[in-house]
């Protein structure tokens, strides 16, 4: 049974539609990407998954069951707006949060110590949160989301405000949790993280689902319109080939935008006639491009 199934949910705030007919499922050991511009309905969706607000229509099921206090305890949440009690010790508040999600004091304490050790910040056990650096506060925040070993984890902008080293640390932690079978919903603006972590995604735009499905298929659906070419010498006359939109000269060679995929073959032939080709690739579109194309076009 799928840990999280969302079926045709709608949410209206007065006149404004926040979420309209959204459906997706997340399997065990899967990170599901929820993408969208600001105000697209991501936070509302997450709040509905967390049971903070109820959908007007549609259904959310957790291991086949509707929302209840049991579900509350199996979920972990890393909110976009980070926040802990600034004046309290790390141990006090994290044990409290663990207890609120049904752990005993001792269990929560053990789990907290394990996580601090993992992030190599054991010495912060007795420190106040306000005394920690921003990066370390983020780590504590992450521990707050996972201290009770949730089955469903909601990550809203999980890696924002972290330096590259800490991003890698958290990313590898997230992957590990995924491999242990945790089900995650992941929202971010950073497309490269989605490409690295998510199998399936939904792109929301102004409350509507504009793209939905497996990342690989979505990419396949979008035409490959970019050719990367590197040659030993100069290649003349690329711009004048039929079907070529633009040519960009880079350090390594050329980046050519084309109208149709078969134009790529013409480019290769044209280039080989002039100089030895070191590299030729028909690039698949990046998620970033897809996102800008779908969301950006609609916004024009």
């Amino acid at each position: 049974m799928k840990p999280l199934v969302i079926e045709h949910i709608f949410k209206q705030y007065g006149e404004k539609t926040a979420v309209s007919d959204l459906s997706f499922e997340v399997s065990e050991g899967e990170i599901y990407g929820l993408l969208g511009a600001n105000g697209a309905g991501k936070t509302t969706t997450m709040r509905m998954i967390l049971g903070l607000i109820m959908p007007d229509r549609g259904e959310i099921r957790y291991y086949g069951k509707p929302y209840g206090s049991e579900q509350l305890r199996m979920m972990g949440y890393l909110p976009e707006e980070r926040g802990l009690y600034p004046k309290l010790k790390v141990s006090d508040q994290l044990i409290y949060l663990g207890q609120l999600r049904g752990m005993s004091r001792a269990e929560a304490d053990r789990s907290l110590r394990g996580w601090l050790e993992r992030f190599q910040i054991e010495e912060y056990y007795n420190r106040k949160v306000e005394e920690l650096s921003k990066g370390n506060q983020q780590k504590i925040q992450f521990i707050a989301a996972v201290i009770h070993r949730p089955k469903i984890l909601i990550l809203d902008e999980a890696f924002s405000g972290l330096d590259p080293v800490n991003v890698e640390l958290l990313k590898s932690t997230v992957k590990e949790l995924r491999d242990q079978g945790m089900c995650m919903v992941f929202s971010t603006h950073r497309m490269e993280h989605v490409e690295e972590l998510c199998r399936n995604i939904t792109i929301l735009d102004r409350s509507k689902t504009v793209l939905h499905g497996s990342l690989r298929e979505i990419k396949r659906r979008f035409p490959q319109e970019r050719v990367v070419l590197a040659t030993e010498g100069e290649v003349q006359g690329l711009e004048s080939l039929p079907g070529v939109r633009s040519v960009l000269r880079t350090e390594a060679g050329y980046e050519i935008r084309i109208e149709r995929e078969d134009v790529a073959q013409d480019i290769l032939r044209h280039a080989m006639a002039q100089a030895p080709v070191r590299r030729f690739e028909l690039m698949e579109p990046t998620l970033n491009e897809i996102f800008i194309k779908t969301v950006g076009e609609r916004n024009e």
Partner: protein, 429 residues
């Protein structure tokens, strides 16, 4: 463990360990120790000071009959309030007054009396000039003495027995007894004094406890919201439990604080040296009715919960601590109005405004308590007002929970009531 108790315990633990709590308790305890011992020290100071008769000047030769009568009256008293001092006349009324004023400045006298002729009665009008404003007791004994002098002057030529003369001279004593329809006897003056003092003290205590702890609840909720830890909390525990856990935890901290302070105060009052001082002031602790204390505790409890739910609801809709004060002001004004009606009602506990107010749940804790302490309202009136109070606690608790549920999710500008209602509908709380 139930999450309600986890929240309660967490709130209580943080409160008890906070520096603000420890310091405020310590400072208040010191103030109370000083306050409890104050009567004793005042009495010690009094022994050498104002128990001596107060020197009051008069112009030599003016109304000798009256002055002699006064002197005779004070001579008969064991502890006379006044000692008459003769000041030589300056010749004219202006010079007389100047001489008396000079004597006051020289501190040979503390006040003086002047006579004004009233030929139609045959007894002069007496004007007492006092160096201090609040000199009512001296004026009062002066009046009693003058009445006695006048009576003696009238009856001088009448044959009276010694017993009759003593009767004439004895001041009339009026003791007020509070009518109590339920029990026999009624409250004596001492009991009444204690009742007024105690009621006054408890009303102040109630007001402070309710508003201070109530505001603490609101402040903490807003702080949780502004630090955004709220988002984690509401996804970990049901908002209703969280709100009531917070209210209960803060309440327990408040009870512990008040218990400590009252304990310190009463323990100091019970010290042997203080007991005498209190009795000298006419305060007897055993005159305190246990019924009154039970009602005080009850109204503290109910008043706190009524106000705390309101404070919690307001705390939940404010996103930033700086905006909280303004948002709380309607509730603060409500509590202050109740408090001031209670202070006004101390002298007149059965006035319509107090009686009507005692049925308004926000005022009941102050006003019904006052009526119970100072007058004797029928049982059904007490029951009715308590019923209304309990019903409104349920109502406002329910409403506050709904507002809280919605408010904690709303960030940014403080929502208007209309926006709040709209959001409540949208969130389906």
């Amino acid at each position: 463990m139930n999450s309600l108790w986890i929240v309660t315990a967490f709130t209580l633990r943080n409160k008890l360990r906070s520096k603000a709590f420890i310091w405020s308790t310590a400072i208040l305890a010191v103030l109370l120790v000083v306050g409890a011992n104050l009567p004793y020290f005042l009495e010690r100071l009094n022994l050498g000071g104002s128990d001596e008769p107060k020197p009051v000047g008069y112009i030599e030769g003016a109304y000798p009959e009256v002055v002699q009568g006064l002197e005779a009256f004070y001579a008969r008293q064991e502890n006379p309030d006044i000692r008459l001092v003769a000041i030589p006349s300056g010749g004219s009324p202006q010079a007389d007054e100047a001489a008396l004023r000079q004597a006051v400045e020289d501190k040979t006298i503390k006040g003086y009396i002047l006579f004004a002729d009233r030929p139609e009665i045959g007894f002069p009008e007496v004007i007492y000039h006092s160096s201090s404003l609040m000199d009512f007791t001296v004026a009062e004994t002066l009046r009693i003495a003058l009445e006695s002098v006048k009576a003696e002057m009238v009856f001088r030529n009448v044959q009276l027995s010694d017993a009759e003369r003593a009767l004439l001279a004895a001041p009339v004593a009026v003791h007020t007894l509070l009518i109590d329809t339920g029990e026999e006897g009624g409250k004596t003056a001492a009991e009444q004094g204690v009742a007024i003092g105690l009621t006054y003290a408890i009303i102040i205590l109630l007001f402070m406890a309710v508003t201070i702890t109530g505001q603490l609840v609101a402040t903490e909720i807003t702080a949780e919201k502004s630090s955004r830890v709220m988002e984690l909390l509401i996804t970990s525990v049901k908002p209703l439990r969280q709100m009531f856990g917070k209210i209960l935890g803060t309440f327990t901290a408040g009870v512990i604080q008040i218990g400590l302070l009252v304990g310190v105060f009463v323990a100091n009052l019970m010290l042997p040296h203080n007991r005498g001082a209190l009795e000298a002031l006419g305060i007897r602790l055993d005159a305190v009715e246990p019924k009154l204390l039970i009602f005080a505790l009850f109204f503290y409890l109910t008043g706190y919960f009524l106000y705390a739910t309101l404070f919690a609801a307001i705390g939940s809709i404010v996103s930033r601590t700086e905006e909280l004060g303004q948002a709380l002001s309607p509730v603060m004004i409500l509590s202050i109005v109740g408090f001031y009606i209670a202070i006004f009602g101390l002298r007149n506990p059965e006035s319509p405004i107090v009686v009507i107010g005692s049925y308004i749940p926000f005022f009941t804790p102050f006003l019904m308590f006052e009526r119970i302490g100072l007058s004797d309202p029928p049982v059904w009136e007490i029951a009715l007002s308590i019923g209304i109070l309990l019903a409104s606690i349920l109502l406002f608790g329910w409403l506050a929970a709904k507002i809280y549920r919605t408010g904690v999710l709303m960030y940014g500008k403080r929502p208007s009531i209309k926006e709040l209602v709209k959001a409540m509908k949208a969130y389906k709380v």
